[in-house]
Amino acid sequence: MTIRLRDLGACFEGVIPSILATASADGVPNISYLSHVEFVDDAHVALSNQFFSKTAANLHANNQATLLLVDPRDGDQYRLNVTFDRSLDGGTLFDAMAAQLRASSAQIGMHGVMRLRGVDLYRVDRVEAVQSPTIATAIRPSTADRHLAAAATLAVRIAEASDIATIIDAVLDGVREGFGFSNTMLLLKEPSGARLVTVGSRGYAWSGIGSEVAVGEAVIGTAAAERCAVRISDMSRIRRFGSAIRPTSADENRTRTIALPGLADAMSQVALPMIAGGSLRGVLFLESAERLAFSKDVEAALSIVANQAAAALSLADSLGNEPSLVTSEGNGALAGRPFNIVHHTFDDSVFIDNEYVIKGVPGRLLVHLLRLHLREGRADFTNREMRLSDELRLPDLKDNLETRLLLLRRRLEEKAAPLRLLQTGRGKLRLQLAGPAVLTVAKGKSSSSR
C-alpha cells in the first residue's frame, strides 16, 4: 500500500522528535534529531534550518537524506527518502513557519529569542513504514473530508444568520456540534486594533464576555498579530500561565478587568484569525485537554469557518448602519427595588450596586442610554443618534456599535443586572429596568468598593 504524506498528519505535529540522516560526499554518515518536520504537500516537506554545520555541509555535497518520522499516537515509524531541493528565506511557507515558531516561543516565555533563520525544502521520493512488532501498521485515512463537510454545514448556518449575536452563536454552537470541540471562544478586534475582546464562549466555568487579550500576546494575540493560524498540539512541556483559576466578582470589582476563561489542563490549542476584506476582524480560539486534538485538517476546515464568520460579521455591521431602535421600558419601575449605577469617568467603568459590569465604550453607551431615559423620559433611541452623539465621544463607531451593544447586552445578562438590554427584533433593543435607577458620576480614580 502506498503511504501518502497527507495520511501521516500526526507525525508533523512536533510531539516526538524526528531523525535526519545525511552523508558526506565520501560516505561518512551523520545523524541527528529534529524538533519539527513541516508537511508541505504530498511530494514535499520542509525543515527549519536549525542544523549543525555538518548536516548543512553534507546536504550541499550530497543532496540525498533520510528522515524518520514518528506517529505520537502509536509510536509507528515512517522512513522518508528525501532529496534536498532548496533553501527559502521568505514566502508564504517561510512566513507561516516563522509565525508558528514565534508563537511557540512566546508560549514558553522565550518571546523574540527563537527566530527562524531559514527553511529547507525537500522532495520526498519514497515513504515506507518501518517494521513494528506491536500491531500491523494501519494508516489512518485523512479526516479532511469529514471536517470539510462539517465546515460546509457550519458555513450555511453562518450564512443564514443576519445579526452579530446570531452569527457568533452559530459559530460557537456549530464548532461544538459539527466538530465536537466544546471549549471555544470568539474574540473581536477593538477598533483601535490593539486589543481583542471576548464576545462569546462555550464550555468554560465562566463566559469571560468582555475579557481582553492584547494583540501579539500568547496564542490568541499571536494569531491576530501574524494573521495566521497558531496551533499547539502538546502543551505538557510548555510553562503554564495561571489564568485558569476562576476569578471572584471581588477581583473584577478591584481590577475592573474580566478574566479570560481557560482550561487548566489544556494540552492542545488552536487560534484562527478571522479575516474579511483584507482586515482582521477577530480570532476564533479552541482548546482541548487531549493531546493532538487539532490536526492540520481541522485547522484547514476551521480556517474556512473563521473567515466565513468574519465576512458575515462585516456584512451584519454594514447592515446594522441602518437606524436601529432602542426602546426603554418600565419607566422608573416604581414597584421594583431601587438600584445604584456608578459611572467612573476616568475609564468609563460602570458599577451596578457595587458590582463591576463593564468599562470603555460599552460602559459609556450604557450610561448614555440610561441618562437619556432618566432625563427625557425617552422610550426610543436609534443607533444613528448614538453614532452622532457628542456626549458619547464614540471613537470610530462606524463598524463597531453593534458589537459593543452585544457585549453590553451579554454582560448585563451574565451579571443578572437589574438593568438589561433585550433584543426585541432586528436592529431593535429594549432598555429594561427592574426598579428606579440612581445614577452617580464619579470623577477621578476613586475606589469602587464603597
Partner: protein
C-alpha cells in the same frame, strides 16, 4: 578516547540512533537498543535489531561507516560518535544488555509521560546483531553554544 564518564553515559538509559550510508550515498536511519563500551580500546558494541533495521546492518557490512548519536531525553544532552564498524554476532551479553536497556529506557520514557505502547516500536531487540564501532571522532551535540564541537581525545 572515550573516558569513563562518557562511557557511563553511553551505557545509560539514553536514546541511541544510528546513521549509515549505502553504495549510492543514500543515508539510512536506525535505532540501537543498548551499548557496551570497552573502555580500554574505545570500542563500542551497539545492539541493533536486524529484523527491524536490515538496511542499517547491510550498510555496515558493505562499507563499515557508522555514526551514532546518544541523547538523554530529560535534558537533551547528546554526543555523536563516528568511526568504522563491523557486524558481529550478538552474544549472550549483548542480548542481556538489550533486555536491560529496553526495560530501563521504557521506564525512563514512561516517566517522561509517554505510553509504553507508544515507545515499544522504538525499542525492538528482535533478531539482534551487534555493530562493533571503533570510535574515531566524538562530537558534542547537545543544543547550545558547544553544539557540533569535536571532543578532544584528551577530554
Amino acid at each position: 578516547m572515550i573516558d569513563a564518564e562518557l562511557a557511563s553515559f553511553m551505557e545509560s538509559a539514553v536514546m541511541i540512533i544510528v546513521g549509515t550510508c549505502d553504495d549510492v550515498l543514500r543515508p539510512q536511519v536506525g535505532r540501537a537498543v543498548g551499548a557496551i563500551v570497552d573502555r580500554a580500546t574505545s570500542s563500542v558494541d551497539l545492539i541493533v535489531s536486524e529484523w527491524q533495521w536490515p538496511e542499517t546492518i547491510a550498510n555496515v557490512r558493505w562499507n563499515g561507516r557508522l555514526a551514532v548519536t546518544f541523547a538523554r531525553p530529560s535534558d537533551y544532552v547528546s554526543y555523536q560518535v563516528k568511526g568504522r564498524a563491523m557486524v558481529v554476532p550478538a552474544l549472550a551479553a549483548h542480548r542481556a544488555c538489550a533486555v536491560r536497556y529496553v526495560e530501563a529506557m521504557t521506564a525512563t520514557l514512561v516517566g517522561n509521560g509517554l505510553d509504553a505502547r507508544v515507545t515499544a516500536p522504538w525499542l525492538v531487540d528482535r533478531e539482534p546483531a551487534a555493530l562493533r564501532l571503533a570510535a574515531e571522532m566524538i562530537f558534542i551535540q547537545t543544543p547550545g553554544d558547544m553544539a557540533g564541537q569535536r571532543l578532544e581525545p584528551s577530554r
